[in-house]
Subunit: 198 residues, 2 copies
Protein backbone atom coordinates (compact mmCIF):
# COMPACT_ATOMS: atom_id res chain seq x y z
CA UNK A 1 0.00 0.00 0.00
CA UNK A 2 3.07 2.23 -0.08
CA UNK A 3 2.35 3.55 -3.56
CA UNK A 4 1.50 7.06 -4.55
CA UNK A 5 -2.19 6.29 -4.72
CA UNK A 6 -4.11 6.34 -1.47
CA UNK A 7 -7.20 4.19 -1.70
CA UNK A 8 -8.79 5.99 1.21
CA UNK A 9 -8.26 9.37 -0.34
CA UNK A 10 -9.19 9.08 -4.00
CA UNK A 11 -10.94 12.12 -5.50
CA UNK A 12 -14.71 11.80 -5.80
CA UNK A 13 -15.71 9.69 -8.77
CA UNK A 14 -12.42 7.79 -8.97
CA UNK A 15 -12.20 4.19 -7.83
CA UNK A 16 -10.59 0.82 -8.36
CA UNK A 17 -12.65 -0.63 -11.14
CA UNK A 18 -10.36 -2.98 -13.04
CA UNK A 19 -11.30 -4.65 -16.29
CA UNK A 20 -10.93 -8.39 -16.60
CA UNK A 21 -7.89 -7.87 -18.77
CA UNK A 22 -6.21 -5.56 -16.25
CA UNK A 23 -6.75 -8.09 -13.46
CA UNK A 24 -5.20 -10.86 -15.52
CA UNK A 25 -2.40 -9.03 -17.35
CA UNK A 26 -1.38 -6.36 -14.88
CA UNK A 27 -2.12 -7.93 -11.54
CA UNK A 28 -2.11 -11.70 -12.00
CA UNK A 29 0.60 -12.18 -14.65
CA UNK A 30 2.95 -9.84 -12.86
CA UNK A 31 2.25 -11.44 -9.51
CA UNK A 32 2.90 -14.91 -10.86
CA UNK A 33 6.09 -13.76 -12.57
CA UNK A 34 7.27 -12.13 -9.33
CA UNK A 35 7.36 -8.75 -11.04
CA UNK A 36 6.43 -5.70 -8.97
CA UNK A 37 2.81 -4.58 -9.09
CA UNK A 38 2.14 -0.84 -8.95
CA UNK A 39 -0.08 0.00 -7.23
CA UNK A 40 0.43 -2.92 -4.86
CA UNK A 41 -3.09 -2.78 -3.47
CA UNK A 42 -4.28 -6.39 -3.57
CA UNK A 43 -3.32 -8.66 -0.66
CA UNK A 44 -2.62 -12.40 -0.64
CA UNK A 45 -5.25 -14.38 1.16
CA UNK A 46 -6.18 -17.96 1.70
CA UNK A 47 -9.66 -17.78 0.34
CA UNK A 48 -11.39 -20.84 1.44
CA UNK A 49 -11.28 -20.62 5.21
CA UNK A 50 -13.15 -17.31 5.01
CA UNK A 51 -16.85 -16.85 4.61
CA UNK A 52 -17.41 -14.07 2.09
CA UNK A 53 -18.76 -11.66 4.71
CA UNK A 54 -15.48 -12.07 6.63
CA UNK A 55 -13.39 -10.65 3.78
CA UNK A 56 -13.99 -7.04 4.80
CA UNK A 57 -10.78 -5.72 6.32
CA UNK A 58 -8.77 -8.66 4.97
CA UNK A 59 -9.21 -8.36 1.23
CA UNK A 60 -8.89 -5.11 -0.72
CA UNK A 61 -12.35 -3.56 -0.68
CA UNK A 62 -13.72 -1.08 -3.21
CA UNK A 63 -17.36 -0.23 -2.94
CA UNK A 64 -18.91 -3.53 -2.03
CA UNK A 65 -16.42 -5.69 -3.93
CA UNK A 66 -13.41 -7.42 -2.48
CA UNK A 67 -10.22 -8.35 -4.32
CA UNK A 68 -7.41 -10.67 -3.30
CA UNK A 69 -4.81 -13.08 -4.59
CA UNK A 70 -5.14 -16.70 -3.66
CA UNK A 71 -3.90 -20.12 -4.74
CA UNK A 72 -5.75 -22.49 -6.97
CA UNK A 73 -7.34 -25.22 -4.98
CA UNK A 74 -10.11 -27.73 -5.24
CA UNK A 75 -11.15 -27.12 -1.66
CA UNK A 76 -13.84 -24.51 -1.65
CA UNK A 77 -15.24 -25.13 1.79
CA UNK A 78 -15.44 -22.28 4.32
CA UNK A 79 -16.63 -22.04 7.89
CA UNK A 80 -20.29 -21.72 7.00
CA UNK A 81 -20.57 -23.18 3.54
CA UNK A 82 -18.82 -23.56 0.20
CA UNK A 83 -18.25 -22.02 -3.22
CA UNK A 84 -19.70 -23.88 -6.15
CA UNK A 85 -18.78 -23.08 -9.74
CA UNK A 86 -21.66 -22.45 -12.09
CA UNK A 87 -19.69 -24.40 -14.69
CA UNK A 88 -18.69 -21.54 -16.96
CA UNK A 89 -15.15 -20.45 -17.73
CA UNK A 90 -15.04 -17.34 -19.84
CA UNK A 91 -11.92 -16.56 -21.88
CA UNK A 92 -10.25 -13.22 -21.19
CA UNK A 93 -8.53 -11.55 -24.12
CA UNK A 94 -5.84 -8.90 -24.33
CA UNK A 95 -7.16 -5.42 -24.99
CA UNK A 96 -6.41 -5.75 -28.70
CA UNK A 97 -8.56 -8.88 -28.71
CA UNK A 98 -5.75 -10.94 -30.24
CA UNK A 99 -4.41 -13.03 -27.37
CA UNK A 100 -6.29 -15.16 -24.89
CA UNK A 101 -4.63 -14.19 -21.61
CA UNK A 102 -6.68 -15.95 -18.98
CA UNK A 103 -9.89 -17.55 -17.83
CA UNK A 104 -12.64 -16.29 -15.55
CA UNK A 105 -14.70 -18.68 -13.50
CA UNK A 106 -17.98 -17.84 -11.77
CA UNK A 107 -19.01 -19.35 -8.45
CA UNK A 108 -21.94 -18.96 -6.09
CA UNK A 109 -21.67 -19.23 -2.33
CA UNK A 110 -23.89 -21.75 -0.56
CA UNK A 111 -24.53 -21.91 3.16
CA UNK A 112 -24.62 -25.38 4.65
CA UNK A 113 -23.05 -28.78 4.25
CA UNK A 114 -21.44 -29.65 0.91
CA UNK A 115 -23.20 -30.11 -1.41
CA UNK A 116 -26.59 -29.63 0.13
CA UNK A 117 -26.42 -25.93 0.99
CA UNK A 118 -28.67 -23.00 0.25
CA UNK A 119 -27.53 -20.62 -2.46
CA UNK A 120 -26.78 -17.05 -1.40
CA UNK A 121 -26.31 -13.83 -3.36
CA UNK A 122 -22.53 -13.95 -2.87
CA UNK A 123 -20.63 -14.31 -6.13
CA UNK A 124 -16.98 -14.96 -6.89
CA UNK A 125 -15.10 -14.25 -10.08
CA UNK A 126 -11.88 -16.27 -10.09
CA UNK A 127 -9.27 -15.36 -12.69
CA UNK A 128 -6.38 -17.57 -13.68
CA UNK A 129 -3.76 -17.41 -16.36
CA UNK A 130 -3.78 -20.01 -19.08
CA UNK A 131 -1.57 -23.04 -18.63
CA UNK A 132 1.38 -23.03 -21.00
CA UNK A 133 -0.08 -25.50 -23.46
CA UNK A 134 -3.64 -24.16 -23.55
CA UNK A 135 -3.30 -22.26 -26.80
CA UNK A 136 -0.47 -21.71 -29.19
CA UNK A 137 -0.71 -17.96 -28.85
CA UNK A 138 -0.61 -18.22 -25.11
CA UNK A 139 2.38 -20.54 -25.36
CA UNK A 140 4.36 -18.11 -27.42
CA UNK A 141 3.42 -15.37 -24.98
CA UNK A 142 4.62 -17.48 -22.08
CA UNK A 143 7.77 -18.45 -23.91
CA UNK A 144 8.56 -14.78 -24.16
CA UNK A 145 8.02 -14.47 -20.44
CA UNK A 146 10.27 -17.47 -19.81
CA UNK A 147 13.18 -15.43 -21.05
CA UNK A 148 12.92 -13.22 -18.03
CA UNK A 149 11.69 -15.56 -15.31
CA UNK A 150 13.21 -18.87 -14.33
CA UNK A 151 11.44 -22.19 -14.52
CA UNK A 152 11.10 -22.20 -10.79
CA UNK A 153 8.84 -19.19 -10.96
CA UNK A 154 7.32 -20.53 -14.10
CA UNK A 155 5.97 -23.53 -12.29
CA UNK A 156 4.40 -21.13 -9.86
CA UNK A 157 2.69 -19.35 -12.68
CA UNK A 158 -0.59 -21.19 -12.92
CA UNK A 159 -1.05 -21.62 -9.19
CA UNK A 160 -2.10 -18.05 -8.52
CA UNK A 161 -5.60 -16.81 -8.95
CA UNK A 162 -7.12 -13.42 -8.39
CA UNK A 163 -10.61 -13.26 -6.92
CA UNK A 164 -13.37 -10.69 -6.90
CA UNK A 165 -16.13 -11.37 -4.36
CA UNK A 166 -19.32 -9.38 -3.95
CA UNK A 167 -22.89 -9.76 -2.86
CA UNK A 168 -25.48 -9.22 -5.51
CA UNK A 169 -28.03 -6.94 -3.95
CA UNK A 170 -31.24 -6.34 -5.81
CA UNK A 171 -32.08 -3.33 -3.65
CA UNK A 172 -28.66 -1.77 -3.99
CA UNK A 173 -28.92 1.96 -4.58
CA UNK A 174 -25.22 2.47 -5.17
CA UNK A 175 -24.68 4.27 -8.44
CA UNK A 176 -22.08 1.89 -9.74
CA UNK A 177 -24.46 -0.98 -9.29
CA UNK A 178 -27.37 0.98 -10.67
CA UNK A 179 -25.56 1.60 -13.89
CA UNK A 180 -25.45 -2.16 -14.28
CA UNK A 181 -29.17 -2.24 -13.65
CA UNK A 182 -29.48 0.48 -16.27
CA UNK A 183 -28.00 -1.93 -18.75
CA UNK A 184 -30.44 -4.59 -17.74
CA UNK A 185 -33.33 -2.21 -17.77
CA UNK A 186 -32.50 -0.73 -21.13
CA UNK A 187 -31.78 -4.07 -22.73
CA UNK A 188 -34.97 -5.56 -21.39
CA UNK A 189 -37.33 -2.69 -21.93
CA UNK A 190 -39.18 -4.57 -24.64
CA UNK A 191 -39.70 -7.66 -22.50
CA UNK A 192 -43.07 -7.19 -20.87
CA UNK A 193 -42.83 -10.21 -18.64
CA UNK A 194 -39.99 -8.73 -16.59
CA UNK A 195 -40.50 -5.77 -14.31
CA UNK A 196 -37.67 -4.39 -12.23
CA UNK A 197 -38.25 -2.99 -8.74
CA UNK A 198 -38.23 0.78 -8.46
CA UNK B 1 -7.47 19.55 -15.63
CA UNK B 2 -4.79 21.15 -13.51
CA UNK B 3 -5.47 18.93 -10.51
CA UNK B 4 -3.17 16.41 -8.95
CA UNK B 5 -4.86 13.52 -10.73
CA UNK B 6 -3.82 12.92 -14.31
CA UNK B 7 -6.53 11.14 -16.20
CA UNK B 8 -4.09 9.92 -18.80
CA UNK B 9 -1.79 8.44 -16.22
CA UNK B 10 -3.97 6.61 -13.70
CA UNK B 11 -2.54 3.36 -12.34
CA UNK B 12 -3.94 0.19 -13.92
CA UNK B 13 -7.37 -0.64 -12.58
CA UNK B 14 -8.21 2.90 -11.48
CA UNK B 15 -10.67 4.98 -13.44
CA UNK B 16 -13.34 7.62 -13.31
CA UNK B 17 -16.40 5.63 -12.39
CA UNK B 18 -18.67 7.99 -10.48
CA UNK B 19 -21.82 6.89 -8.74
CA UNK B 20 -25.06 8.70 -9.46
CA UNK B 21 -24.84 10.39 -6.09
CA UNK B 22 -21.28 11.60 -6.69
CA UNK B 23 -22.27 13.09 -10.04
CA UNK B 24 -25.17 14.95 -8.46
CA UNK B 25 -23.72 15.95 -5.10
CA UNK B 26 -20.07 16.47 -5.85
CA UNK B 27 -20.06 17.56 -9.46
CA UNK B 28 -23.48 19.03 -10.22
CA UNK B 29 -24.40 20.70 -6.93
CA UNK B 30 -20.97 22.25 -6.60
CA UNK B 31 -20.98 23.40 -10.20
CA UNK B 32 -24.37 25.02 -9.85
CA UNK B 33 -23.36 26.69 -6.59
CA UNK B 34 -20.18 28.00 -8.23
CA UNK B 35 -18.07 26.10 -5.72
CA UNK B 36 -14.76 24.68 -6.92
CA UNK B 37 -14.80 21.08 -8.16
CA UNK B 38 -11.73 18.96 -7.43
CA UNK B 39 -10.82 17.25 -9.64
CA UNK B 40 -12.07 19.67 -12.27
CA UNK B 41 -12.23 17.07 -15.01
CA UNK B 42 -15.63 17.57 -16.60
CA UNK B 43 -15.99 20.28 -19.27
CA UNK B 44 -18.99 22.46 -20.10
CA UNK B 45 -20.52 21.65 -23.44
CA UNK B 46 -23.54 22.57 -25.42
CA UNK B 47 -24.92 19.12 -25.84
CA UNK B 48 -27.46 19.31 -28.50
CA UNK B 49 -25.49 20.46 -31.52
CA UNK B 50 -23.26 17.40 -31.19
CA UNK B 51 -24.03 13.96 -32.42
CA UNK B 52 -22.97 11.49 -29.74
CA UNK B 53 -20.05 10.14 -31.80
CA UNK B 54 -18.67 13.70 -32.01
CA UNK B 55 -18.24 13.97 -28.23
CA UNK B 56 -14.85 12.24 -28.25
CA UNK B 57 -12.21 14.87 -27.62
CA UNK B 58 -14.80 17.41 -26.48
CA UNK B 59 -16.39 15.73 -23.47
CA UNK B 60 -14.44 14.00 -20.71
CA UNK B 61 -14.01 10.42 -21.85
CA UNK B 62 -13.42 7.39 -19.63
CA UNK B 63 -13.52 4.04 -21.29
CA UNK B 64 -16.31 4.45 -23.77
CA UNK B 65 -18.35 6.85 -21.70
CA UNK B 66 -18.39 10.64 -22.07
CA UNK B 67 -19.20 13.14 -19.33
CA UNK B 68 -19.95 16.84 -19.60
CA UNK B 69 -21.93 19.65 -18.05
CA UNK B 70 -24.67 21.23 -20.09
CA UNK B 71 -27.74 23.40 -19.66
CA UNK B 72 -31.27 22.15 -19.41
CA UNK B 73 -33.07 22.59 -22.67
CA UNK B 74 -36.04 21.25 -24.49
CA UNK B 75 -34.15 21.20 -27.76
CA UNK B 76 -32.62 17.83 -28.20
CA UNK B 77 -31.93 17.96 -31.90
CA UNK B 78 -28.39 17.37 -33.21
CA UNK B 79 -26.87 17.39 -36.66
CA UNK B 80 -27.94 13.87 -37.50
CA UNK B 81 -30.86 13.18 -35.23
CA UNK B 82 -32.25 13.77 -31.76
CA UNK B 83 -32.36 12.53 -28.18
CA UNK B 84 -35.69 11.19 -26.99
CA UNK B 85 -36.42 10.50 -23.33
CA UNK B 86 -37.70 7.05 -22.51
CA UNK B 87 -40.06 8.75 -20.06
CA UNK B 88 -38.42 7.67 -16.82
CA UNK B 89 -36.92 9.96 -14.20
CA UNK B 90 -35.21 8.06 -11.44
CA UNK B 91 -34.69 9.74 -8.06
CA UNK B 92 -31.09 9.93 -6.82
CA UNK B 93 -30.57 9.76 -3.08
CA UNK B 94 -27.73 10.83 -0.85
CA UNK B 95 -25.41 8.02 0.17
CA UNK B 96 -27.21 7.63 3.49
CA UNK B 97 -30.44 7.15 1.56
CA UNK B 98 -32.15 9.95 3.49
CA UNK B 99 -32.24 12.87 1.07
CA UNK B 100 -33.40 12.96 -2.51
CA UNK B 101 -30.64 14.98 -4.17
CA UNK B 102 -31.48 14.81 -7.86
CA UNK B 103 -33.14 13.15 -10.79
CA UNK B 104 -31.74 10.97 -13.57
CA UNK B 105 -33.37 10.90 -16.97
CA UNK B 106 -32.68 8.29 -19.67
CA UNK B 107 -32.72 9.10 -23.36
CA UNK B 108 -32.05 7.19 -26.57
CA UNK B 109 -30.49 8.71 -29.65
CA UNK B 110 -32.39 8.46 -32.91
CA UNK B 111 -30.96 9.15 -36.36
CA UNK B 112 -33.25 11.03 -38.72
CA UNK B 113 -35.91 13.70 -38.69
CA UNK B 114 -37.77 14.36 -35.43
CA UNK B 115 -39.69 12.35 -34.46
CA UNK B 116 -39.45 9.75 -37.17
CA UNK B 117 -35.89 8.59 -36.67
CA UNK B 118 -34.30 5.20 -36.19
CA UNK B 119 -33.25 4.31 -32.66
CA UNK B 120 -29.53 3.73 -32.10
CA UNK B 121 -27.58 2.14 -29.24
CA UNK B 122 -26.48 5.56 -27.95
CA UNK B 123 -27.79 6.30 -24.49
CA UNK B 124 -27.75 9.43 -22.37
CA UNK B 125 -28.12 9.72 -18.61
CA UNK B 126 -29.00 13.32 -17.75
CA UNK B 127 -28.75 14.32 -14.09
CA UNK B 128 -30.34 17.41 -12.62
CA UNK B 129 -30.75 18.71 -9.11
CA UNK B 130 -34.20 18.97 -7.66
CA UNK B 131 -35.99 22.28 -7.93
CA UNK B 132 -36.26 24.06 -4.59
CA UNK B 133 -39.88 23.12 -3.96
CA UNK B 134 -39.74 19.50 -5.14
CA UNK B 135 -39.51 17.96 -1.69
CA UNK B 136 -39.41 19.34 1.79
CA UNK B 137 -36.14 17.60 2.56
CA UNK B 138 -34.61 18.94 -0.58
CA UNK B 139 -35.90 22.40 0.28
CA UNK B 140 -34.26 22.36 3.65
CA UNK B 141 -31.07 21.17 2.04
CA UNK B 142 -31.22 24.00 -0.45
CA UNK B 143 -32.09 26.49 2.27
CA UNK B 144 -28.87 25.50 3.94
CA UNK B 145 -27.05 26.10 0.70
CA UNK B 146 -28.75 29.46 0.29
CA UNK B 147 -26.84 30.68 3.31
CA UNK B 148 -23.65 30.47 1.34
CA UNK B 149 -24.75 31.28 -2.20
CA UNK B 150 -26.75 34.27 -3.31
CA UNK B 151 -30.13 34.12 -4.97
CA UNK B 152 -28.53 35.04 -8.23
CA UNK B 153 -26.58 31.81 -8.24
CA UNK B 154 -29.54 30.08 -6.76
CA UNK B 155 -31.62 30.81 -9.83
CA UNK B 156 -28.85 29.25 -11.86
CA UNK B 157 -29.04 26.15 -9.79
CA UNK B 158 -31.57 24.09 -11.66
CA UNK B 159 -30.33 25.04 -15.12
CA UNK B 160 -27.26 22.86 -15.05
CA UNK B 161 -27.32 19.22 -15.94
CA UNK B 162 -24.57 16.65 -16.07
CA UNK B 163 -24.66 14.09 -18.85
CA UNK B 164 -23.19 10.66 -19.38
CA UNK B 165 -23.32 9.40 -22.97
CA UNK B 166 -22.26 5.99 -24.17
CA UNK B 167 -23.00 3.47 -26.83
CA UNK B 168 -24.44 0.21 -25.64
CA UNK B 169 -22.46 -2.48 -27.38
CA UNK B 170 -23.68 -6.02 -27.12
CA UNK B 171 -20.36 -7.42 -28.34
CA UNK B 172 -18.25 -5.30 -26.03
CA UNK B 173 -15.47 -7.36 -24.49
CA UNK B 174 -14.26 -4.64 -22.17
CA UNK B 175 -14.14 -5.93 -18.64
CA UNK B 176 -16.03 -3.04 -17.14
CA UNK B 177 -18.89 -3.66 -19.49
CA UNK B 178 -18.64 -7.40 -19.09
CA UNK B 179 -19.14 -7.13 -15.38
CA UNK B 180 -22.47 -5.51 -16.18
CA UNK B 181 -23.26 -8.42 -18.43
CA UNK B 182 -22.25 -10.68 -15.57
CA UNK B 183 -25.03 -9.14 -13.55
CA UNK B 184 -27.48 -9.71 -16.33
CA UNK B 185 -26.28 -13.21 -16.88
CA UNK B 186 -26.34 -14.18 -13.26
CA UNK B 187 -29.68 -12.57 -12.58
CA UNK B 188 -31.25 -14.17 -15.60
CA UNK B 189 -29.75 -17.61 -15.40
CA UNK B 190 -33.11 -19.11 -14.51
CA UNK B 191 -34.95 -17.49 -17.38
CA UNK B 192 -34.86 -20.01 -20.20
CA UNK B 193 -36.40 -17.73 -22.79
CA UNK B 194 -33.42 -15.38 -22.79
CA UNK B 195 -30.04 -16.42 -24.12
CA UNK B 196 -27.15 -13.99 -24.15
CA UNK B 197 -24.55 -14.03 -26.91
CA UNK B 198 -21.23 -15.65 -26.03
Amino acid sequence: MGDNINLNNLPPGFRFYPSDEELVVHFLHRKAALLPCHPDVIPDLHLYPYDPWDLDGKAMGEGKKWYFYSRRTQSRITGSGYWQSIGVEEPIYSSDGQIKVGLKKYSDFYIGEPWEGVKTNWIMHEYRVLSSNSTSKSSSSQRRNSKIVSNKFYNDYSKWVICRVYERDEDDDDGAELSCLDEVYLSLEDLDEISLPN
